[in-house]
Amino acid sequence: MTQPGTYTGAQLIWESLIREGVDTVFGYPGGAILPTYDAMTEYTIRHVLVRHEQSAAHMADGYARASGRVGVVVATSGPGATNLVTGLATAMLDSTPLVAITGQVGSALLGTDAFQEVDITGITIPVTKHNYLVTRAEDIVPAIREAFAVARSGRPGPVLVDITKDAQQSRATLDWEAAVPQRHLRHLPAPLDPSVLAQALDLIRQAKRPIILAGHGIQLSGARAEVLALAERADIPLALTLLGLGAVPATHPLSLGMMGMHGEAWVNRAIQEADLLLAFGMRFDDRVTGKLKEYAPHAKKIHIDIDASELNKNVPVDVAIVADLGDVLRALLPEVPVADRSSWLGTIREWRGDSAVRDIKNLPDDGHLYAAHVMHDLWRLTKGEAVVVTDVGQHQMWEAQYYKHDGERSLITSGGAGTMGFALPAAIGAKIARPEAEVWVVAGDGGFQMTFAELMTAVQEGVKVNIAVINNGYLGMVRQWQALFYEGRYAATPILSPDFVKLADAFGIHGQRVETRGDVAAAVVQARAAGGTALIEFKVEQEDSVYPMVPAGAALHEMIRRPSALAETGSDPV
């Protein structure tokens, strides 16, 4: 009994998604979302069938991070919805815009512990920007429209829309214009205050040893050009957070590299000795500050972020500006005095030279394969142009240290949550968002085993990603902490892996094993040339550790440096 001009709730979901510009959704069906899946067949939208809903959220996350668009997830009620939670938390902590649509039991059954009923809106309050429980078809369009607006606006993040089965099945009219979202506008930042901008300019003028702390907000704001313009005009070096890598080119002469726990010693030292920090779209996470009491003790601080709750949270600042970074920098730029800070830059360069001899990639080949070698070679062979999606652990830090990211959105990694299992699904999402890009997964043997079922998703979807599994036989990052802080008791960190080459074979993809440095290049070339997804297992030094390192709770300059044995055998910097 179709009435003209009306749609089922299920159709309204797809009508809304298409109007929001969605071309791909990542999902997994089930009873409570079945009406929506049934209606999907009427629409031209790509559905990627995952092997676990957590991966659907990571794929949507990778899709969003690679493209800047909103990632969309669809899952059923109960376990389908709860499986999304880790993915939502990951997106929340790294400010990824996602919309998750979950089916829910019929509205008459809510609160009865009906089959597959879980209070997913209750569960996800702390890991979403907002969520909705929709029980009527006529509320679907306003909820989805607002969900997209909320996900995109301000500091982006995930939003969940839980829709009861009867809402999907009943009918309503589609009035797109009447559903124009408003509430996300409640919290837009106030207009820029000229007196605060003047204070910032004063600090910049007076600074002798300034440094820009470049964070993820630069990419979210699209402010790369403005940041570089300011840095170049005022001759200020840039230190990057993990999620800031790629925000400005690593090979830019003013770029120092990554700061923080596994940042290079010269970068952290520059921060500790600076007299002005310009924090751009970063949040002074404990991984980048070390001990707060001793953090950048000589520096005045300017902090610009779209999220007011981040200002003065961990580090008290002298000038706090709540605004879109690009807007602030465009207002500041004409007033920023041209400066020459060559003596400050020269000092940092000296510190840097002191570290280069300790750098493993500069060491002669001793027959062992180090993950750092693999990252360095991968960078060379892909000319630094790949989108690299990393998992969590030592390999993640080595990638950050040795793969020089020049392009925006060229590193995708779970920073805030540190979610193992993220890389493969996020890479599939990234490749779908940017099919022209060369996408590499860099994962550990541990994390890869958490979500490798998604290899089959890549095959089913005809998606080519190249995978480097860094196999050290350990949950390496945890083992490193055990070695350093738990007297070497390796409790539950040795981990066995399947034969990855056979595994690749079982999935019908190209697989290869590399055990020496000399074989790295050929394997990378072959993987790139393979028609579809390709996997290389790198059997690396088992008990290698990531250096330098600021031990948890230590001040930023109190780093454990690379072992001096390595330093002494060091050859000339490359």
Partner: protein, 181 residues
């Protein structure tokens, strides 16, 4: 130190949970939280009294401001305010003390709202300190039951108009004027 926050929110299911969850997550102890309707349909007003230090309260305020359902947050205490609490207290009144209890109630301008053979229910509205004093004065007679609403607060003087923010209840799709504060 207790801080008094006034929070305007959508009148929608789940809003209280979102607000409470924000404090719970930071292990704030909520001293009191009252919520009720306002002069506008669809708009609720909460008065929240929390015990914490100023920076942490400021943080919580910024997080409240990020909730989609929150229209405005005022941190009272920076300016003069009226804070009122209402108490119902059932006091044991043996015949020989009944008149004394009644006299005390009068001193506090409290009303007797129920009389039983062996007890009275007294209702009183006032500042938190006044209610505390009333309760203390009744304690020697034996308090059988006590309920307080928690504080409702309002700034004194002219209402400083909040940055007028559009607010549309999801259900009605009405224009921004409908509810802006």
């Amino acid at each position: 130190m207790p801080h008094v926050l006034v929070v305007y929110t959508d009148d929608e299911p789940g809003v209280l949970t979102r607000v409470a969850s924000l404090f719970r997550r930071r292990s704030f102890n909520i001293h009191s939280l009252t919520v009720g309707p306002t002069e506008r349909v669809g708009l609720s007003r909460m008065t929240i009294v929390v015990d914490s230090d100023a920076p942490r309260v400021r943080q919580a305020v910024e997080h409240l401001r990020k909730l989609v359902n929150v229209l405005e947050v005022q941190q009272l205490g920076e300016r003069p305010m009226v804070v009122r609490d209402l108490v119902l207290v059932r006091v044991a009144t043996a015949p020989e003390v009944r008149s004394e209890v009644l006299q005390l109630a009068q001193v506090f301008r409290a009303a007797v709202v129920d009389i039983a053979e062996d007890s009275l229910v007294i209702e009183c509205t006032g500042s938190l300190a006044k209610i505390d004093a009333l309760v203390d004065s009744m304690r020697p007679f034996g308090i059988l039951e006590l309920g307080r609403t928690g504080a409702v607060a309002m700034a004194r003087g002219t209402r400083t108009p909040s940055p007028s923010r559009p607010a549309v209840p999801l259900r009605t799709g009405a224009g921004p004027e409908a509810m802006s504060v």
